[in-house]
């Protein structure tokens, strides 16, 4: 994760509640530097951005094979988009403007 300001500051990520998201795309306008729309209209981290595969490493308990089981480790296997400090405002705008309240800033 790129340069944090203070040591010990948690990583702030943009979390999508996929059960609410309908791909309306406002977030991809407001946070265009990190988000774009996939072919169905849903937000996805821009390719090449650091951490666009946040988590999702096969060693993580959350991405084990088998039943869709308890994720275990928070964030493992999810695509929360890391937000750098200077992007915080834009991410917050996206969170505020989502018509379905499908976005949240989380700190891990």
């Amino acid at each position: 994760m790129s340069g944090g300001a203070g040591a010990g500051a948690g990583v702030v990520s943009l979390h999508v509640d996929w059960t609410r998201c309908r791909g309306r795309g406002l977030c991809t306008e407001l946070f265009a530097e990190r988000l774009e729309r996939d072919e169905w209209g849903y937000p996805v981290a821009r390719a090449g951005a650091p951490g666009d595969r946040a988590g999702g490493d096969p060693g993580d308990p959350g991405v084990r094979a088998g039943n869709p089981g308890d994720p275990g480790t928070p964030g493992a296997g999810t695509r929360d988009v890391p937000v750098r400090p200077h992007e915080r405002a834009a991410a917050a705008d996206a969170v505020a403007m989502c018509p379905l309240q499908a976005l949240r800033l989380v700190e891990r």
Binding site: R20, G23, L26, E29, W40, G41, M97
Partner: protein
């Protein structure tokens, strides 16, 4: 003084009808997730909100000036409880009803992060009731209500809203080739 208040009341009332119509149209465009020329999606939503708030202000001035106008015989009670007024109680009552609905819409919209998207969405459907009631009130109560120019104006507003609703319901014209998901519940 009274004449001036009466004129202000009418003027702000007519403008409020226009602004509410614009609000509904922008709300429909917002719902379909479409941009407008020069307005990205988030801007459409912001303008919808701004016009809604402007409309509310105009409605407030419309009601306020008529309260102050002694000839209008409008009591404070009449602004909240519908159908208890003296002058044209039915058409006035529709206006009161529209104001009540508008207040609910605005308050729930401002508090939507608190009440959650489902509750917000459910209440917001009331906008489709508020607008025709407000328009009916304007035609029925307003001094200019049945005059030709206002009827033309009302007709144009109605055509615009009906057209927008039809457009909204033709879901075939989706932005992306996407499977239809269930409604946000």
């Amino acid at each position: 003084m009274d004449t001036a208040l009466w004129v202000i009341g009418r003027g702000f009332g007519v403008t409020a009808v226009l602004l509410l119509t614009l609000t509904v149209l922008l709300g429909i465009v917002t719902r379909r997730g479409r941009p407008l020329p020069g307005l990205p999606r988030f801007a459409v939503q912001l303008v919808h909100r701004d016009v809604a708030l402007a409309a509310t202000v105009f409605v407030a001035v419309h009601v306020g000036s008529l309260l102050l106008d002694t000839e209008a015989e409008l009591r404070l009670l009449d602004t909240v409880v519908p159908f208890v007024g003296a002058y044209r109680w039915f058409w006035l009552g529709l206006g009161t009803l529209a104001v009540d609905l508008l207040v609910v819409l605005v308050v729930t919209a401002l508090l939507r992060r608190v009440i959650g998207p489902r509750a917000f969405r459910a209440v917001h459907w009331a906008a489709y009731a508020m607008w025709p009631i407000a328009l009916a009130h304007a035609v029925g109560t307003g001094t200019d209500g049945t005059s030709a120019w206002f009827l033309v104006l009302a007709g144009v507003c109605t055509a615009a809203v009906v057209g927008a609703v039809v457009w909204r319901c033709t879901a075939r014209v989706t932005e992306f080739r996407s499977a239809k998901l269930e409604v946000v519940r």
